[in-house]
Symmetry: C2
């Protein structure tokens, strides 16, 4: 399986347009010092493929057009064309869905998401109608939890990657207006487990993508055990990070993110191939490669995702 990390920052990018914190200034000036070394990052975006020619996106970041241009394997191969077959959405967060509106140039795509998420996008936000101006264009496909399903392109061709969703949270974005039905209460965000055969052998390889998770319970830990690549919520280092920097706001847990200092501890004995933090907020000290927090994460066997990493499994 080919995995491309097209973007690794949380919502707002790094640097963030209206933020003058030490991390952001260092990334903006791009001049490493002994105190600050921090690489700019675009918003979290993953692309996966079994064969390297048909790709699925996990999420659709607001930076998607730039991210596609930066990845030659996603460039068109004909007059009107894209290797992107579809998109799997884990939530309706703006930094995870706005990119769909950038894919509106009459291209056939399949979009998978929980029924609640599809309703929020399509019924509450008329702009998404631009994705269905002609046929064939976007095919919206409801995603349920509990069993893997094969990812298909808009025409229904199997692309040899499977996906299993585990729903995690009832924390829908603050913009949502529609009433969420009881049976959908937990579908606000999902952990996505992708599987595909290795091109080198017939072994099945697995990637867990969990950009937002408040709590790592035993069920989720058991599911993570043994994956080849874990891409985990690295939004905040500590629970009160935003409050300390801004003087007010919510804790990491209140915003639906487990702090890195807790997940480091909780996943200490979980066996995974590579463990990588992504969806990293501009305030997180692990972005600064000179920080004790960055060193602590590296010493615990974690990598800190950077844009344009290409993993081959």
């Amino acid at each position: 399986m080919h995995v491309r990390i097209l973007g690794s920052a949380a919502g707002g990018r790094f640097p963030q347009w209206n933020c003058g914190c030490g991390n952001c200034v260092a990334a903006r000036e791009n001049k490493p010092t002994r105190k600050f070394t921090a690489k700019p990052r675009t918003q979290a975006q993953l692309a996966l493929s079994s064969d390297g020619s048909r790709w699925f996106l996990a999420g659709a970041s607001p930076d998607l057009a730039f991210q596609i241009e930066a990845a030659p394997e996603l460039h068109p191969r004909a007059l009107r064309d894209s290797p992107i077959a579809g998109v799997v959405l884990a939530s309706a967060d703006l930094d995870h869905v706005i990119g769909l509106l950038l894919l509106r140039e009459l291209q056939p795509l399949r979009v998978y998401a929980a029924p609640s998420i599809l309703r929020i996008l399509r019924d509450e936000n008329s702009m998404f109608g631009m994705l269905n101006r002609i046929e064939p264009q976007v095919v919206w496909t409801p995603m349920t939890a509990g069993a893997p399903f094969p990812l298909q392109d808009a025409a229904g061709n199997d692309c040899e990657v499977s996906c299993e969703a585990i729903f995690l949270s009832n924390r829908f974005p603050k913009y949502v207006k529609s009433k969420i039905q009881n049976e959908e209460a937990r579908t606000a965000s999902a952990a996505l487990f992708f599987q595909a055969k290795s091109p080198k052998s017939s072994a099945v390889k697995s990637v867990a993508y969990i950009p937002a998770v408040e709590k790592l319970d035993n069920e989720l830990l058991a599911k993570i055990e043994g994956v080849d690549v874990l891409l985990l919520d690295g939004t905040f280092w500590s629970n009160d990070e935003l409050i300390r920097i801004q003087g007010n706001g919510e804790t990491a847990h209140q915003m639906g993110h487990i702090p890195v200092e807790e997940s480091l501890r909780l996943l200490k004995n979980t066996k995974v191939g590579r463990r990588i933090y992504m969806h990293i907020n501009n305030t997180n000290p692990i972005l600064n490669e000179e920080s004790p927090e960055h060193r602590a994460a590296r010493a615990a066997g974690w990598e800190v995702a950077e844009d344009s990493w290409h993993l081959e499994l």
Copy 2:
């Protein structure tokens, strides 16, 4: 007046993510040849300022976060800060409004637009609610036509730039669901006329920004006469451009854009300081600096906008 062209392409950027036309391939590979020399461009975006410290955006392009990072004068000067005081919208086109959703990091801003446009954004698209999660954040201000009004920041401070809108069209974007009232029929798009005093003298300087116009009638031509800078719809060179390339589709006029080959002729005798085409579609041959169309526009006294141009009036 300071004018910064942050982006100069039409919707979809140049190159466009799913387009493999000659122009797009040349821009993507960024290797000039004797046949093709074409610079990549982000989506049309203008920033204006009287004093160089408080800026207004005309439009809010999907590429706005990158465009802000590329313009040092728009960087924050404090922990949470932006020199951007507000935004003036000429239409509800996606490539003109999505950028508002990127300005959601709790920053006070004033957004001016026709009442019809404000309704489309705020009533039909719940995501724009993220711009009003706290106070002070975005202040939405209805814009009427026929008289200049002073641009103010969210707190009501006059920023020494005035704007006058002339409404041009009843062609609302195809995603719009709400019924447009009769008295609002013409408010789908606007020409924006900005004025400010020159920092060097007390002379009043003027900029006309008209990214989408189907017809240059005598009233509009009279209004354009004498402006210091004209930034005009350069979307398509010819009326059947998209149809010839794609094999189907609408004419330039049907999409609400006067072709460059017509506006060149119509504006031949109109006196303006600088005349610049912007909002240029990836299919427009003027993007290719080796093309006869590019040379014809230049010979007629026009410039072809490029990203990051800074005009001082």
